[in-house]
């Protein structure tokens, strides 16, 4: 879509915040499906912790988007009262959780990307935004450390763990291209001093991924293969709608409910 070119600075900022928030809400929701189903108790807690971290990041980004928007809406509006085509999260984040290797491979790809992205965003001109990102960055670093460690262990583990880890990366690869999708929203935010320059760290990110896969004795799939696209403008896989139905139905059934 070319309409993004015509967005105002304020609209771009809201769109940018929503993209960041949607990625984290959807991935956090997916990861929360592990709660009570983790491979061992300790990892169950680790996954639930990461899920909560991500949902926490999403919550503050949504709240800030609502503040910038200034139309009296709150984070719940963005999370519960939008339909799938209004979500702009990466398809990578919405894919079903798969087996543990799949969840870990996805988390590694996402967290390593976030690591570079946040390194720039925490220096943003907008101090409120930068402060928020800086706080989240510590958790992102941990997610990267935890997921990377598992990639190494499972990749260089048993025949079965290696096969599952390789299958996971092979399956996820075509969703990795979108991480570096850039349009007017990104350009506007970058020009305003509040965006990350994705191209500036693309090679560094690729190297981190390649080095990790090689250390894990895994094959690096072909970067030039077919890559999915469209999620930043609301095009999603069939999985997102099902997930939102489950996630949103309670809130939508009781739109005026509160905790009092």
């Amino acid at each position: 879509m070319n309409t993004t070119k015509e967005l105002s600075v304020k609209e771009s900022k809201i769109a940018y915040l929503l993209r960041l928030a949607d990625d984290r809400l959807i991935l956090g929701q997916r990861m929360s499906e592990w709660c009570g189903h983790g491979p061992v108790l300790e990892e169950d807690l680790a996954l639930a912790n990461m899920a909560l971290d991500l949902i926490g990041h999403a919550s503050s980004l949504y709240a800030y988007a609502a503040e910038v928007e200034d139309e009296g809406r709150d984070e719940d509006h963005f999370a519960y009262f939008r339909d799938d085509y209004e979500f702009t999260n990466l398809q990578l984040c919405e894919l079903p959780k798969g087996d543990f290797a799949f969840t870990i491979a996805r988390q590694f790809l996402f967290s390593s990307f976030s690591y570079f992205q946040y390194q720039q965003l925490k220096e943003a001109k907008d101090e409120q935004f930068a402060g928020m990102i800086d706080k989240h960055f510590k958790e992102v670093k941990y997610h990267l450390r935890h997921s990377r460690d598992w990639v190494l262990k499972l990749g260089d583990g048993t025949d079965e763990s290696k096969k599952r880890m390789q299958d996971a990366f092979d399956e996820l690869w075509m969703y990795s291209g979108e991480l570096f999708y850039i349009d007017g929203v990104d350009e506007m935010m970058l020009a305003e001093g509040n965006g990350a320059d994705l191209l500036s760290f693309k090679d560094e990110w690729k190297k981190l991924v390649e080095d990790t896969l090689k250390e894990a004795t895994l094959n690096v799939p072909d970067w030039d293969q077919f890559m999915m696209t469209g999620s930043r403008t609301g095009m999603h896989t069939e999985h997102l709608g099902h997930m939102l139905a489950q996630m949103q139905f309670l809130r939508r059934s009781h739109p005026d409910a509160d905790w009092k």
């Binding site: 300790e42 807690l45 912790n49 935890h146 460690d149």
Partner: protein
């Protein structure tokens, strides 16, 4: 111990330091595949509510512990030696005031 114990990861004891300068305290134990994994699990299981600023993990089988049989010779002799406690010494007033 269950029969599939061999499949389980080894057990680790977790210690955490509540504050700078405070001694490490035993938090509990957990299963982990190796030291790095144990450290990460300890972080997620025992210090996720701001309990500490440092963690030690030690393979449980590396700990040498006293046994119930040691009880008599280890601990009983101390039970009738109250003079080993400091309460028989009067604390100077200046020290008391400060604390």
């Amino acid at each position: 111990m269950s029969e599939n114990n061999e499949k389980d990861w080894p057990l680790w004891e977790v210690f955490y330091q509540p504050k700078n300068g405070k001694p490490y305290e035993h938090a509990g134990s957990l299963h982990a595949s190796d030291a790095e994994n144990a450290l990460q699990n300890a972080r997620d299981v025992y210090v996720r509510r701001n309990e500490g600023i440092g963690i030690w993990v030690v393979p449980s089988d590396q700990i040498t512990a006293s046994t119930p049989e040691d009880m008599g010779s280890f601990f009983d002799p101390a039970s009738d030696k109250p003079y080993r406690h400091p309460q028989f010494y009067s604390v100077p007033r200046a020290v008391k005031k400060r604390s």
